[in-house]
């Protein structure tokens, strides 16, 4: 039974996005923060992890039991188990792509969602698309394993527009990062 490991997840995400965003100011800020703050918020859960909560895919939430993989413009689409906001797929973008003129935030909050087709748990990065007014279509609010502000990378209320030209929130994507 695979146990959810938010620590490994944080590292993976950091590698994934920070590594590709050298042109953005976010990288230097992340680097600085990592040096300055040992308990940097993107990797804060090492101690809490000692509790080893049951996060196995088998313990399915209501969302997971009813999730589908056919229509990514519906809140029930499996990747949206912890999304909050307008779906970019309804706003001219795609499940993993920004609408025209919007900018993908290099960092994001994350979720662990179960694909109904293979039963596997996947790590999903909810990368906001920024720099345009609130799309206000297909508003969804998945809350599987969503926590509070002191664990910001697992909180879906934060405006995750860091390192983008503008911090205006437009919509949210659900980028598949890998297995959880």
């Amino acid at each position: 039974m695979k146990t959810f490991n938010p620590d490994a997840m944080g590292e993976k995400l950091l590698r994934r996005f920070a590594g590709r965003t050298s042109r953005r100011s976010i990288l230097s800020r992340l680097g600085l923060a990592l040096v300055a703050a040992p308990a940097f918020p993107l990797l804060p859960v090492s101690r809490a992890n000692a509790a080893k909560p049951d996060r196995s895919p088998e313990a399915k939430t209501n969302f997971a039991r009813n999730a589908q993989s056919a229509d990514d413009t519906k809140c029930t689409y499996w990747r949206y188990c912890a999304i909050d906001g307008s779906l970019c797929s309804c706003c001219g973008g795609a499940v993993n792509r920004c609408p025209p003129g919007a900018e993908h935030s290099p960092v994001s909050w994350v979720g662990t969602c179960i694909n109904p087709d293979d039963g596997r748990a996947y790590l999903i990065a909810y990368r906001d698309c920024c720099g345009k007014a609130y799309c206000n279509k297909c508003d969804c609010d998945g809350t599987d394993r969503e926590t509070q502000l002191y664990v910001p990378q697992l909180n879906n209320d934060v405006i995750w527009c860091f390192g983008t030209t503008s911090m205006e929130y437009h919509c949210s994507t659900a980028v598949l990062v890998g297995t959880a």
């Binding site: 706003c91 001219g92 993993n96 792509r97 025209p100 087709d117 345009k132 206000n136």
Partner: protein, 395 residues
């Protein structure tokens, strides 16, 4: 450059579709054999880009509280993107399809600070900010089609101002520069007049025509032909830039055709109700008739010269009431050739300038309704997608 971007957009779309197909294939495999490889991580994708605007597109001004212009394709019912815009701004389309223009007013600190009036220019392919053209003040009203109009095949913009004296900013879009301000006392709602400047409707019931080229702009006025206070012409009228013609509709349903030019000519009016074989309306408050109304109550299909008018039953001075029927009026024939009843009353109507035209309506409940103009059949019903002014691409 546009061509290249158009191509890149298409190929990006093709790649995206391919990826989607791949993903589905993978899912299919995974479903059949659960021991199969897990899904692969998504590739890093740039934001979607757009083709040049198409006649099937509609631009929906979202409104006073939530600003921005949503773009929908009436062929698919899908939202394609949004042209960013401040509250009470106005959108205009570059006739060459390379840019979107937003005439807007922004303060440096939200509701306070320094006022900044500008035309903000967005690239039509990427919807990214290209430049800002600063200018003097503009009117704050929203919901009007003719406060920001493009003339001279996209080279000039006219921007209406009220502060509370009225004037017009002339902006050179090609050079990205404000040119001059023309005082326009007592008139509003601008119609570009080729080779001359623009015309506007006036409070004395006349049509003013402004020659903009001269150092001191010359304003002439037609003889008054309508009553601006008793039976006003709706300021969201019909306008045909190519034929240099406007179709005016009054509160009671009188229809005028104006041939624009240095010396415009205005037709005798006729009643849209008479054209439909029903009793003509009047200005007496107590009588009940079919009246035109709504916020953007007239859509004009240029190729056929047909106007689509939102009509409602009621008394006089209900000119903002939403329409419960659309009347299709053959303006030249002075004949209403079809009446389309609406399930939900509509505040705005526009028509795509396609051969198989579609009507786009914004309803009282905020739904965007796309109908086949020929049959009235509903093609798409998009909830939470309506708004203020609806705009389509004109040839």
């Amino acid at each position: 450059m546009m061509k290249v971007q158009g191509k890149s957009s298409l190929s990006a779309k093709a790649r995206h579709t391919a990826a989607a197909v791949c993903a589905l294939a993978l899912l299919g495999t995974a479903g059949a054999a659960s021991a199969a490889d897990p899904l692969q991580p998504d590739p890093e994708l740039e934001a979607v880009t757009l083709s040049a605007p198409k006649p099937s597109w509609v631009f929906v001004e979202r409104g006073f509280v939530v600003s921005g212009n949503s773009i929908y394709d009436t062929d698919t019912g899908k939202m394609l993107g949004m042209v960013e815009a401040s509250t009470l701004s106005d959108l205009a389309l570059d006739p060459a399809g390379k840019a979107y223009y937003v005439s807007e007013s922004i303060w440096t600190k939200g509701w306070r600070g320094t006022r900044q009036d500008m035309i903000t220019v967005y690239d039509a392919a990427t919807l990214k900010l290209k430049t800002e053209i600063t200018m003097p003040g503009r009117i704050l009203i929203g919901g009007r089609k003719y406060n920001f109009v493009i003339a001279d095949a996209g080279k000039t913009a006219y921007v209406y101002n009220l502060d509370p004296a009225s004037s017009v900013n002339v902006v050179d879009l090609a050079k990205g520069k404000f040119v001059k301000k023309i005082e326009l006392p007592g008139c509003a709602s601008l119609m570009p007049v080729t080779g001359v400047g623009f015309s506007a409707l006036c409070s004395d019931g006349s049509l003013a025509t402004v020659k903009t080229a001269a150092a001191k702009p010359e304003i002439t006025r037609s003889a008054p032909f309508f009553s601006a206070t008793n039976d006003p012409i709706f300021d969201n009228f019909g306008y045909d830039g190519a034929k240099q013609q406007a179709v005016f509709l009054t509160y009671t349903g009188q229809v005028y055709t104006a041939k624009l030019g240095a010396t415009p000519t205005i037709s005798e009016p006729f009643s849209i109700q008479t054209a439909a074989g029903v009793s003509p309306a009047d200005t007496k408050p107590l009588d009940v008739h079919w009246y035109p109304g709504a916020r953007q109550g007239l859509a004009y299909h240029l190729a056929t010269g047909h106007a689509f008018v939102l009509m409602h039953m009621g008394e006089y001075w209900t000119h903002k009431a939403p329409g419960t029927e659309i009347w299709e009026l053959d303006v030249a024939a002075k004949k209403v050739i079809k009446r389309i009843p609406l399930e939900e009353a509509a505040n705005s109507v526009t028509v795509t300038q396609e051969a198989n035209a579609k009507l786009v309506l914004s309803t009282e409940g905020g739904t965007l309704l796309i109908l086949d103009a020929k049959t009235g059949a509903e093609k798409f019903k998009l909830e939470k997608s309506g708004g203020g002014v609806l705009r389509t691409l004109e040839p």
